[in-house]
């Protein structure tokens, strides 16, 4: 569905991403893993059409992302950024309703169906009780769930999430993982999740793309890709990889530096 072909992105002469290729099948959750500065965020921005590649293509259903109209693209792809800061005191419901923007005409007001979709999105992320709260007063985990709800309200086929658990503690991480997993199962939403948290990625992603210094060093099904060698190549860390029956997925336990 989403295809990245030999994409290169550079600001000046230094390439942030070079020769990156992979495919995202409809209905899967793909994880993009790598250390800070590896180019993950840039890759997500390329997938969202916010920036264009210096060379190579990003396509959605075989059509270049750059060729889509702004609103049309927003109806197909929604982005959950790493952090959202609300300058003004919007309520949760107001923030989620903003997700309906690409579906409305320039002077069209939200109607009953838009409201229903918004409430639906709140329900899917367990945030119905927060609907009238001010966004700025929420906890980190609550905020992330609301932002996911806002992205859901866009009714898009694809969800891109940039480090969704980066600033959250363990409890919230599990919460978000559970929400995303459920969404994927119930709605079949295709997702691309960037993270530097290996366990989180392992818990929800069917496939992984490992990026180091702007280049793909491995890609494929999670269990195949998440190996000791790959972890060392990515993070200079020696780790134990084990399948955890209770968690239901592969886990990574860092043991020592392997510079």
């Amino acid at each position: 569905m989403l295809q990245v072909d030999s994409v290169r992105f550079a600001y000046a002469r230094d390439a942030v991403l070079d020769d990156v290729s992979f495919a995202v099948q409809r209905g899967t959750i793909v994880g993009v893993l790598g250390p800070n500065g590896s180019g993950k965020t840039t890759l997500l921005r390329l997938l969202a059409g916010i920036i264009t590649p210096s060379s190579g293509r990003v396509t959605l259903d075989e059509v270049a992302v750059a060729a889509f109209g702004r609103r049309e693209l927003a109806r197909r792809i929604a982005v959950v950024p790493q952090e959202t800061y609300a300058t003004f005191d919007f309520t949760v419901l107001e923030i989620v309703l903003m997700g309906r923007y690409p579906h409305l005409g320039p002077f069209e007001l939200e109607g009953a169906s838009d409201l229903a979709i918004a409430r639906d999105a709140l329900a899917a992320t367990g945030t119905v009780a927060l609907a009238d709260r001010l966004f700025s007063t929420l906890s980190g985990g609550e905020k992330q769930r609301v932002v996911i709800a806002a992205a859901l309200a866009q009714s898009s086929d694809v969800l891109l999430l940039d480090e969704p658990t980066a600033s959250l503690d363990v409890g919230y991480q599990l919460e978000i993982a559970s929400v995303l997993g459920r969404l994927n199962r119930d709605r079949g939403t295709t997702m691309v999740v960037s993270s530097h948290d290996l366990n989180f990625a392992a818990s929800i992603c069917k496939e992984l793309v490992l990026i180091r210094r702007g280049r793909v060093i491995a890609r494929g099904p999670t269990a195949d890709v998440l190996t000791r060698e790959h972890v060392r190549a990515l993070y200079d860390v020696d780790a134990d990889i084990a399948f955890n029956a209770r968690a239901g997925h592969v886990t990574v336990i860092p043991v020592a530096h392997a510079g």
């Binding site: 969202a48 049309e72 929604a78 982005v79 300058t87 003004f88 919007f90 309520t91 007001l109 700025s136």
Partner: protein, 336 residues
């Protein structure tokens, strides 16, 4: 009710509109001279002899209309600048458009004291030209980067413009003769004694253009206030929205300052007051602020011209005395 945007818009705009109407009806009745409404509208007496009518129509009504336009424009511009810069402390004065208008006026007072074009003194025309000049500089700064406007660049540009142009004003005042300097000081205090309808009419042109821009902005401003990339990801044409916002808010600030001189606090206090009442959505905040800003300035002008009769306070003092403490209260009550 939450979520029913149509209903909320009707109630909000209806309520603020009614407030403005009430204020506009009452304000021309009050003033230092006591007049009778009946006499003012008495058609049997020729206008040329009717003092009450002349006070009402020539002295007071243009003032009320002028106050409404200036108050509404500054408040609307404040809302838009706060969203554009993602900063609730932004004001129409922040980017330097207001001081550009002041430089134009000070130059005209000093160099072209007796010039009038089409019945309008050169001063408001030069003032508006000055605001356009400042806008051009800000616009060039803002669009120099191909990747959208950086609010940091805009804010820094505003600081530089304000200090540079402020120094220019001081220099011009220093070189001018005494009476010219005196007149510039007077102008810089701001005054709603607009006098005639021709200056108001001239100001309506840029205000109408700004209003057209404003009409397209509210939803985009909501999304922009969460960040330009977040807005782009939701389908907002960020570059276009930012440019329309910058130009509309600058045109409305320039028109207002050319008409009345700089009047502070309206552009920063009114949006906050309105948000306390109606919430954060710009489809409510923008029009409501324009309406409330108009009513607010008419009321302040009423106080300014009656509190110490027969002397009149510059209206900027009244807005500052109300706005300052209110602002302090706002800052202290915010939990974060």
């Amino acid at each position: 009710m939450p979520g029913d945007i149509r209903g909320r818009m009707t109630v909000t705009l209806g309520g603020f509109g009614a407030l403005l109407l009430a204020v506009m009806l009452v304000a021309p009745l009050a003033g230092t001279a006591r007049i009778s409404l009946a006499r003012a509208f008495d058609r049997s007496q020729p206008f040329a002899d009717n003092v009450d009518a002349q006070i009402f129509f020539i002295a007071r009504l243009p003032r009320v209309v002028g106050a409404a336009l200036v108050g509404g424009s500054l408040a609307a511009a404040g809302v838009v600048f706060q969203a554009l810069l993602r900063n609730p402390l932004a004001a129409p004065e922040t980017l330097g458009v207001s001081i550009g208008a002041s430089v134009g006026a000070v130059l005209a007072i000093t160099l072209l004291p007796d010039v009038a074009i089409g019945g309008i003194s050169a001063v408001p025309l030069a003032s508006f030209a000055g605001s356009l000049g400042a806008l051009a500089v800000v616009y060039a700064l803002a669009t120099a980067r191909s990747r959208g406007m950086s609010s940091t660049v805009l804010l820094l540009g505003g600081v530089v413009l304000t200090s540079f142009l402020g120094a220019m004003i001081t220099l011009i005042q220093y070189l001018a003769d005494f009476s010219q300097t005196f007149r510039t000081v007077r102008w810089l205090m701001g005054s709603l004694d607009v006098g005639s309808y021709s200056a108001i009419g001239a100001a309506l042109v840029p205000l109408a253009i700004a209003a057209i821009g404003y009409a397209t902005l509210p939803r985009a401003l909501d999304l922009l206030s969460l960040g330009p990339e977040a807005a782009a990801a939701r389908g907002v044409d960020v570059a276009r929205a930012e440019r329309v916002a910058l130009v509309s808010a600058s045109l409305s600030t320039g028109a207002a300052v050319s008409l009345s001189g700089p009047i502070g606090f309206v552009g920063i206090v009114v949006p906050h007051l309105v948000r306390l009442i109606v919430g954060a959505e710009h489809r409510l905040v923008l029009p409501a602020s324009a309406l409330f800003g108009a009513a607010f300035l008419i009321a302040c002008d009423l106080v300014a011209r009656t509190a110490f009769a027969p002397l009149e306070l510059p209206v900027g003092i009244v807005t500052a005395m109300i706005g300052g403490p209110f602002f302090l209260w706002l800052l202290l009550r915010r939990p974060r």
